[in-house]
Symmetry: C2
Subunit: 162 residues, 2 copies
């Protein structure tokens, strides 16, 4: 798990077994991969956002923190390119991260136009928590699939994501 964007039409939905009151999706639409992806996104986002909310994290923050942890400090542009998020959107996200003290802007030593965005200790802590949640969801959601099947799924999604 770990999701970046907010999907529209986010009907709150319960976790895995879930289905009680939900109508199954009509077959004439589930034929379409795009529809399935959209609805999967809707569900996964709503589940993950719920968990994030409990940790006072917003969904897009998780991805950024992950990236900063992995690659070290980088500029907002770089983050945007890697995550495919608009530059102006990134400004607001980093603003929020700074407000929560999960990250901070440092001056870029080589380029005075740019900042280096850096994860803080608090950011690291919250990332650890959120990652754990993400791993757990991952495991639950894919529980029915064997390792080779998961490879196919991951490869397919990568293709679709471009």
């Amino acid at each position: 798990m770990l999701i970046i964007m907010k999907p529209a039409a986010c009907v709150p939905m319960p976790l895995l077994p879930g289905g009680e009151s939900l109508e199954p999706l009509p077959e004439c639409l589930t034929r379409y991969t795009g529809f399935l992806v959209a609805k999967a996104h809707q569900r996964l986002f709503s589940i993950f956002a719920e968990e994030c909310r409990k940790q006072a994290v917003e969904v897009p923050h998780a991805g950024i923190l992950h990236l900063l942890q992995e690659f070290g400090p980088m500029s907002q542009q770089e983050l945007g390119r890697k995550l495919r998020i608009d530059r102006t959107t990134m400004v607001k996200i980093i603003d929020a991260l700074e407000k929560h003290k999960f990250a901070r802007r440092k001056n870029h030593p080589q380029d005075r136009r740019a900042y280096l965005v850096e994860i803080t200790d608090a950011g690291g802590k919250v990332l650890a928590i959120v990652s754990k949640i993400a791993e757990r969801m991952e495991a639950e959601l894919l529980v029915r699939y064997s390792e080779p099947e998961r490879k196919i799924i991951r490869r397919a999604l990568l293709t679709l994501a471009g």
Copy 2:
């Protein structure tokens, strides 16, 4: 193809081979199915929306028209339940569909509170066009996958979509 919801952060992106200027998604995030689904959604939506725009159709309309074609007239609530779209959102979507004359509200013969939403001839025509686009995208996007692999992918997405 055929997508219902608008994803956030919709960087316009070119079709299949695509990648020229796009950085590949970082591996530390593509490990997460949720992230992949989000990014796949982002890309698929932006491609499909572009095509829809050319036909003066909005993305959510495609799903509704499909459903009306398949099942015949039904109430807004019913549409919402099947597509997992909020009732108040549905009002606006049907408003737009009526404005474009792709669908119309008829009085429900058994229930005077409800409408029966009905697809029009114009709606049928535009649906045919959009469906063709969807099928083509579908074929292009999954070209590298065999039929058994596609089954796995579809089943997985269905699981994720709940």
